[in-house]
């Protein structure tokens, strides 16, 4: 009886380990081999007790023109295209992730006067506790009207979208904060 229990426990333990391990593995693959897309952002910074701190992302591309309201709510993919300014835009919505390097699963939002809102699968950019307050300040300085200098890069592979980096003034957040620090000195 004890041996059976132990054998079952080993299976359970493997399952418990494999879930986070698989999550990490899929993401590592997407980050290594996925196609890079840039999205203009408008982040804010609330606090999350469990997950440290994060920047809440609001992306320009999440609102786009569409003449008809979404009917189906199961599995919707946004098919992306690159705009003239180099930033990603939603080309159209599709029930299947084709082509695989420019499709990502999204949640449907509201529809109002031919403008469709969708929610991308990355709403937060997590930060370390130390950099969160500075990051918030940096964003506020760089996301005023007329001075929108913040964007995120996302890698997409086989319909899986991995948030890669938050850029402010064309520098990664860490580089930007470091530059700010040295300027002060």
């Amino acid at each position: 009886m004890k041996n059976i229990r132990l054998a079952i426990f080993i299976l359970v333990a493997l399952a418990q380990l494999s879930v986070p391990a698989l999550m990490a593995w899929t993401r590592v693959q997407t980050l290594a081999y996925g196609r890079v897309w840039k999205f203009k952002t408008a982040p804010i910074d609330p606090e999350d007790a469990v997950r440290g701190r994060y920047v809440m992302l609001r992306l320009d591309a999440e609102d786009f023109t569409q003449s008809e309201q979404l009917k189906s709510i199961d599995s919707i993919y946004a098919i992306l295209k690159e705009g003239p300014d180099g930033f990603a835009q939603v080309d159209h919505l599709s029930p299947s992730p084709v082509p695989a390097d420019s499709a990502m699963k999204v949640e449907p939002g509201g529809w109002w006067q031919e403008r469709q809102h969708i929610v991308f699968p990355f709403r937060y950019f997590w930060l370390t506790e130390k950099s969160a307050p500075q990051a918030e300040k940096a964003y506020q300085e760089n996301s005023r009207r007329g001075q929108q200098n913040a964007y995120v890069t996302v890698r997409i592979r086989n319909g899986d979208a991995a948030l890669e980096q938050l850029y402010i003034d064309n520098k990664t957040l860490v580089e930007y904060l470091r530059a700010q620090q040295s300027e002060k000195k």
Partner: protein
């Protein structure tokens, strides 16, 4: 019943056994049988120790989460990933140790179970943070619950089972809030719920009289009420009232049948069901409860939609079956007024649907809504009087007063609901208040007479 056994008395009796055998009052076999009978009572660990051990494990787990989440600024992703798995591996090593060496120690089992479950949550959350993975909270809860349920069985933790049930209620709310459609499909709740049922049955057949089994039964009943609430919202039929009446009655009858007591008092599960019946009856006595949505249709439904409708029928059927299957010759222990609640509700639903919706009336209101509500008012009054008289008969002040509270709640509801004059309302309150006084005086007199 083992649960209600006085432990000090058991210890005294065990001390007396050698003397009784020596004096020839009982045989050594009888003494052995008595020892075995009370063995389970004595071997039970102090519940306080279990709680303290579990709280300790939870605090250690929370401390680890905070330390890891806030002190790794300069680590690379790979280093963080390795560290994330450390608490989980430690917890799993402890579970393995407990299974091999401390399997009979309840505080070990409960504490290690909580530590392992917390470590799984930590690992998933921190991998999500490290790799910017952004699932919904409901998805996270679902994975976490599924990875935690085997631990409940392996470590036989009733506290863990209760926490699991609370977790599936949290999943219901997270799922409802996280999705942009009204009444999203909550049917996965029932899968999660069914996973805990075998554990409850194990506990029930092992020791139905214990406080832990009762606590688990209560949490299960509460989870069922939430699950059914979300399911009726999803099913979009007008059967919600009947389904709830069925559930509450089934809980009440299960409490009486499966947790019998030797005295006149009700088991906590039956009590919970009784209170549920009372509250549901008051809610259904409002006329607005019988304004039919008429969303019900017999056409094409999704598979989950069909299951939801079947579940709405299931609980009233179970309740009626529990009444019908009771052998006729046995003395009926349950309140007939409480037991017929689903049938009365079904009749009221039928009445409410008899009339076609009239254009002159407000939305969904039928001219039969009033008749249905009137029937429920009569029923609630009968229920209140029945509980009151049963309370007086069984010398239970609490039960008698619950009957009175029910009648008072009914009266108050109607005073606010209807357009009665102040004089009528005032008279009504006086009648109900006098009822309270008279019933309590009667009860105390009866008690004083019994004491003398």
């Amino acid at each position: 019943m083992a649960g209600s056994t006085n432990r000090r008395a058991v210890r005294w009796l065990r001390g007396q056994l050698p003397e009784l055998v020596a004096a020839g009052v009982i045989s050594p076999e009888n003494a052995g049988a008595i020892e075995r009978h009370y063995g389970s009572v004595e071997s039970r660990t102090n519940f306080g120790v279990v709680i303290l051990a579990s709280v300790g494990a939870a605090l250690v787990g929370a401390g680890i989460i905070l330390l890891i989440a806030h002190n790794w600024d300069d680590l690379s992703r790979a280093a963080r990933t390795v560290i994330v798995f450390l608490p989980l591996l430690i917890a799993q090593a402890l579970v393995g140790f407990t299974l091999m060496r401390r399997n009979e120690s309840r505080p070990w089992r409960e504490a290690v179970a909580i530590f392992d479950v917390a470590a799984v949550a930590t690992a998933i959350s921190l991998i999500s943070q490290t790799y910017q993975i952004q699932g919904s909270f409901a998805d996270f809860m679902r994975v976490w619950l599924l990875l935690s349920i085997p631990i409940v069985y392996l470590l036989r933790t009733t506290l863990g089972a209760c926490v699991y049930l609370i977790g599936i209620i949290v999943w219901l709310f997270a799922h409802e809030i996280g999705i942009f459609v009204r009444s999203p499909d909550p049917m996965f709740f029932w899968v999660l719920f069914l996973l805990i049922v075998p554990y409850f049955l194990l506990r029930f057949f092992e020791d139905r009289g214990s406080r832990e089994t009762a606590a688990l039964a209560i949490v299960m009943a509460i989870a069922l009420a939430f699950g059914l609430g979300f399911t009726t919202g999803f099913a979009k039929t007008d059967l919600g009232g009947v389904a709830f009446a069925g559930l509450m009655t089934a809980i009440y009858l299960c409490g009486i049948k499966f947790f019998p007591r030797t005295d006149e008092r009700l088991h906590i599960v039956a009590l919970l069901g009784g209170i549920g019946i009372g509250i549901s009856a008051i809610v259904l006595s409002f006329e607005s409860s019988w304004h039919m949505g008429r969303e019900f249709f017999w056409g094409q439904r999704s598979f989950d939609g069909n299951i939801a409708v079947a579940l709405e029928f299931l609980f009233p059927i179970v309740a009626v079956a529990l009444v019908a299957l009771d052998p006729i010759r046995r003395r009926v222990k349950f309140s007939l007024a409480a037991a017929v609640f689903p049938i009365v509700t079904a009749v009221a639903l039928g009445i409410a649907n008899l009339c076609p919706p009239s254009d002159a009336e407000s939305l969904h209101k039928t001219s039969c809504s009033f008749t249905a509500a009137a029937l429920m008012n009569c029923y609630a009054l009968w229920l209140g009087i029945d509980i009151l008289t049963r309370g007086i008969r069984s010398d239970s002040i609490a039960r008698a007063n619950f009957g009175l509270i029910l009648i008072a709640a009914l009266a108050i509801s109607r005073f606010f609901d209807s357009e009665l004059s102040f004089v009528t309302r005032g008279l009504g309150f006086i009648v109900v208040g006098t009822g309270f006084l008279v019933a309590n005086i009667l009860l105390f007199k009866k008690r004083a007479a019994a004491a003398a």
